[in-house]
Symmetry: D2
Subunit: 142 residues, 4 copies
């Protein structure tokens, strides 16, 4: 995890993301990249990454992109998320790249492109939009 | 798992769902109910069920609802899924109830209500729509 | 327009809705029904109601359902809307029935079923979810 | 309308689009730009372009982007559409720019950026994703 991510406290996302093995690759205000290596408990019937896993990864990337643009002590939580599955996620790794389209009042909207990686080849396998709401973190978590 | 579910082959969904502990509670053509008990690796930052887990559960329920209405040897795969998170999923169990709204040609649309359960109390915590495409299963899987 | 709708000020929605001929059939807190008769400038290529018209009608119904549950002087505006088109809207009239699923802080979520009507027969032709944000109306509009 | 658009038959979209005044600005395989000038019957309560009008414009642009990549005699019809409204559409003109993300079998997915234009200034006011299904046009329409 880059120091910039740790400084924002993203190492506290240590639950589903930790269990699944999400890796924060890059964070800057309004942008985030999160990766995930293939594992047998992350796939579906056909042996490709499961749609729920893809969605969780996209959600994490969107949340970090939006949160990284908020003042310290505020966090973006998901109001709604929508994912189109475009091609089989049959690579050895997933990479989700999120960017904030707009922050307006406490509402932010992000898009996420999710790529399936095989060696040096990346294929767009899912496209996601997410609406986030900015909340104050509980005092003890800041 | 009910025998009707096993007869349709839904015990083959044994990957993410199996790893996470999804339980198929009921299946009939066009309807499915799937449940999931709370576990520490299924929650997010605030200790509630993670949005990606909720989405995976809803996706599974929608897929089973649509698939259960298809002829043997056909399966519904997700084209797109959309989830609105309505209240904190802070119960000890999730229950997703899916129904097929419409099957038209090879395209099906399902809605899913996801409830957070605490004892006998159920609270609607997420609402999902999913668009599915019917595919032929590979011969060896039928 | 029912008096209850006029009392809430819904007769002020007199623009696209007025031009297209939207009719508010029923309003109660958290629910609304809005209808629209077929007209040659409201159809698409195949002579069915246009998807944009269906969406506008669903949006109006969702907005009224959410707004009708808000205190006087507050109005629901659309954050995002999603519509699945389920069958051809080839009737002589559309009827959109909206209900608020959840109001949480200033965010509300509604679902809308849109029916295509031919005589006494109603066919579900579209299903919509909408996320709304509650805003204060400008003082002069209250 | 550019000749390339007329050659593909897009001048036949002459109904809601014609009534509202949609103008096809540019078409190439997988891409389309459609514009719309402000008119009093296209606005909502606050005097901005109505969400239904924005959606109809985005839908048209998405449909043309997808259809322009299909063989002659095939047309893309909308399975589902989702629009996030990002800022007030208070310009004198709307411009929708659509591109096809993926065509897979008979299913295509497009994204659309909608800009509100005031003189030379463009502001992103809405972001849309649409799922389309490719159909054969009736013989007499080809």
């Amino acid at each position: 995890m880059p120091d910039s991510a740790r400084a924002k406290g993203f190492d506290r996302f240590a639950d589903v993301s930790g269990a699944a093995g999400f890796r924060i690759v890059a964070v800057e205000p309004g942008r985030a990249e999160v990766a995930l290596a293939r594992r047998d408990d992350l796939v579906q019937f056909f042996g490709h990454f499961h749609g729920g896993v893809i969605t969780a990864l996209a959600d994490q990337a969107a949340g970090i992109a939006v949160t990284s643009g908020l003042p310290k002590g505020r966090i973006g939580v998901t109001v709604e998320i929508k994912v189109n599955f475009l091609s089989p996620a049959d690579g050895s790794e997933l990479v989700a790249r999120a960017k904030t389209l707009k922050m307006s009042g406490s509402i932010g909207v992000a898009t996420v492109e999710v790529f399936s990686k095989n060696g040096a080849t990346e294929t767009l396998c899912a496209f996601c939009t997410a609406t986030m709401r900015a909340l104050d973190l509980p005092a003890e978590s800041r």
